[in-house]
Amino acid sequence: MSWAICTDHLTKIYGGKVIAVNDMNLQVPVGSIYGLLGPNGAGKTTTLRLLLGLQQPTAGKAEIFGQACGVNATAVRGLIGFLPTHPTLPGHLRPVEYLELLGKVCRLPAQVRKPRLTSLLRAVGLLDATDQRIETFSTGMRTRLGIAASLLADPPLLLWDEPTAGLDPAARRFTLDLIRDLGRTRTILVATHILNDIDQICDHVGVMYEGRMIFSGPMREMKRRLLRDEFHLEVDGPAEGLPRLVEQAGRVPGVLARAGDSHTLIVAIAADASRAAALAKILELVDAAGLTLQAIQSAHNDTEHAYLQLLQEDQAHGFRRFEFPKRRGADAGPGDSAV
C-alpha cells in the first residue's frame, strides 16, 4: 500500500515543556478519506502544522507522497490544500482578490488561475458575494472561501482542520457532501472531534489522545475491534412493564439485561450465543409484556462508544503505553491498525 502521509516517531514538544505530539506514527493510504479524531488538545492541529512545515518537529520525520516535510519544503506544500479551523483571512480583500493572490503564490498561470477561481467560487456558492469584502463574511462563508482556497491549486491531498466547526446544519451538510465527492479523486485528512462527521464520511480513522495515536486503521476495523453485542430496545407501555421485562429477559440463556432509563431495555448477548435467536426471544417477551417496541438500536455501530472505549483503554494501560523502540521496530510495521 502506498501512503499519502507517513510519519515516523513524529514528536513535538513546545519549549521543552508541553508535549503536543508524542512519538506518533501515522499512515494515511492514498485515496482514502482519513478522519483524525481526538478530543481538544490531543495534538491534531499541531500534527497538521508539522505536515505543512509551519512548525518544526522536535524529533521524528514526516513525508507527504514520499517527500520530506519541512519549513522550506515548498514542493510538498504544493501538493497540499489546507483548510484551517475558522480560517483567518485578509478582511480588506474581496474573494476574487484573495483567490487571485493565492493563485499567484501557487504559481498558477493566469489562463488556469482565472477560470478556476471563478468556477470554485460558483461551486462553493459565493458567486453572489464577490463584491463584498471578506471582513463582512459570516463563519460559513469564510469556511466556504477557505475550501475554495484549499482547492485552488488542485492538490492531490487535502488537510482540513475542523471543517464543520461553527457551521449551521445546511452548511455542514454541504461540507460533508463535498468531502465525500472530493474523496473520489483525492486523499483527504479531516481532523475533528465531531464523531458523527467521521462516521458519515471517513473510510479510515486515527484516534489521537494526549498527543499520541492510540488507533489507526480502517473504520470497519475500529468498529470490529470494539464490537459490543449490546442492543438498546426502546419500549412504551405500562410503568410496571419494563421491570418485568428486564427480569424475564435476564432469564434468556446468554443474555444480560438491565434497564437503561424508564423506557429502555439494554441487553448484552454473550459471544457464544446466537444474537438472532436471543433477540427473537426478547422481542417475543416485549410483546407478551404488553409493551410497544418504539426503536431498536445496536451499540455495534456506535462510533462514539468505540471512541470513548479507546480513550478509556488507553488510560487504563498505564505504563504499558510506553513501548521500547526496539520492540516496536521488530513487531510492528507501518499500517498496523493497533498503535
Partner: protein
C-alpha cells in the same frame, strides 16, 4: 512570481491602511507649514535640512518604525500562516517581499512629501542670501536619508520578528533608540546618529562632485546653525502648542557643536547599510526557525 504577488499584496494593504494615508496627509501639511514658516529665514541648504528633521529624528521616525514592525506580529501572523505560508512559498520569499513593500512605501511617502517642498524652496525667489546647493549634494543627501529610513524600517522589522507583539516591539525600540541616538550624538559619531546627520546635511548639500578648495560657504556656518536651532525650536513649539519663542543668540548650542568638514558620504553609507543588511538577515533567520 510568488514574491512579486506578495509584494503587490503588501503594497495594496499598506496603501489602503489609515496609518499610511494619514501619515502622507499630515506629513505633507507639516512640510508645507515648515516651508512657509522658514520661507524668508533660512538659506536653501538649511531649509532642506529643517524639512528632513521630522523624518530623521521626530516624529515620523515613529511611523516608520511602526510600519516596519507589522509584517509578522500579532494577529497578522495567524492570517499569514493560514493563508500564505501554508502555500508553496518560502518564508524567505515572504519576508523579503514584505520588507521591500514597507521600504517602498516609506520612501514613496518621503519623496512625495519632500520633493515638492524642496523644489519650491530651492527654485522660488526668496528673500534670503543665495546658497550653493549642488546636484551631487542633493542626490547624496536624498540617498542618505533614504538609507536611514530603510535602516529604521529594517530595525522595526527585526524587533517585530524577535518580540512578536507589535506594542512591545515599538516600546522597546523607542526606549532603546533615543538614548543610543543621544549617546552617538554626544560622541560625535555622525555615521550612526540621525541627529548629527541632520546637522551635517547642509554641508553635504553644498558639497560639489569634485573636490575644490573649500570655501567658507560650504561649511556649516554659525549663522546656519543658529538658524537651524531657531527652526527646531519653532518646530517643537508648534508640536507642543506653545507660542513660538523669540530667537536669541545663545540658544544654538545644539547645532553649533558640529563642524562637518570631515563628513564622509561613504562612511555614513556603510554605517547604515551594513546594519540594515544585518537586521534583515537576522530577522529572516529568526523567522525561518520559528514555529507558526
Amino acid at each position: 512570481m510568488p514574491a512579486l504577488a506578495i509584494l503587490q499584496y503588501e503594497l495594496g494593504s499598506l496603501w489602503s491602511s489609515w496609518l499610511v494615508r494619514l501619515w502622507l496627509i499630515v506629513a505633507g501639511l507639516f512640510a508645507l507649514l515648515s516651508l512657509a514658516a522658514s520661507w524668508g529665514q533660512l538659506q536653501t541648504a538649511v531649509l532642506i535640512g529643517s524639512l528632513l528633521f521630522p523624518f530623521l529624528v521626530f516624529p515620523w521616525f515613529l511611523v516608520v518604525i511602526l510600519l516596519g514592525i507589522s509584517p509578522v506580529t500579532g494577529s497578522r501572523l495567524d492570517a499569514l500562516a493560514d493563508g500564505i505560508l501554508s502555500r508553496p512559498i518560502t518564508r524567505y520569499e515572504y519576508l523579503v517581499a514584505s520588507w521591500a513593500a514597507r521600504v517602498i512605501t516609506v520612501l514613496a511617502v518621503f519623496f512625495l512629501v519632500i520633493t515638492p517642498c524642496v523644489l519650491l524652496g530651492a527654485l522660488a525667489k526668496r528673500p534670503v542670501a543665495a546658497d550653493s546647493v549642488t546636484w551631487y549634494g542633493a542626490f547624496s543627501a536624498a540617498a542618505l536619508v533614504s538609507l536611514v529610513l530603510t535602516f529604521l524600517v529594517s530595525l522595526g522589522f527585526l524587533a517585530g520578528t524577535l518580540l512578536r507583539r507589535p506594542l512591545v516591539a515599538a516600546v522597546v525600540l523607542i526606549f532603546v533608540w533615543y538614548p543610543i541616538n543621544f549617546v552617538l550624538h554626544t560622541f560625535s559619531l555622525e555615521e550612526f546618529s540621525p541627529i548629527s546627520l541632520n546637522q551635517a546635511l547642509p554641508t553635504l548639500l553644498r558639497t560639489p562632485w569634485r573636490d575644490e578648495p573649500t570655501g567658507p560657504d560650504r561649511k556649516l556656518s554659525s549663522a546656519d546653525a543658529e538658524a537651524m536651532a531657531r527652526q527646531a525650536a519653532q518646530f517643537l513649539s508648534v508640536l507642543s502648542g506653545a507660542p513660538a519663542q523669540a530667537p536669541h543668540r545663545d540658544s544654538g548650542d545644539f547645532f553649533e557643536r558640529g563642524n562637518y568638514e570631515d563628513f564622509s558620504f561613504w562612511k555614513v553609507f556603510l554605517g547604515y547599510s551594513i546594519p540594515t543588511l544585518a537586521s534583515v538577515a537576522l530577522a529572516t533567520w529568526c523567522f525561518c526557525r520559528r514555529d507558526l
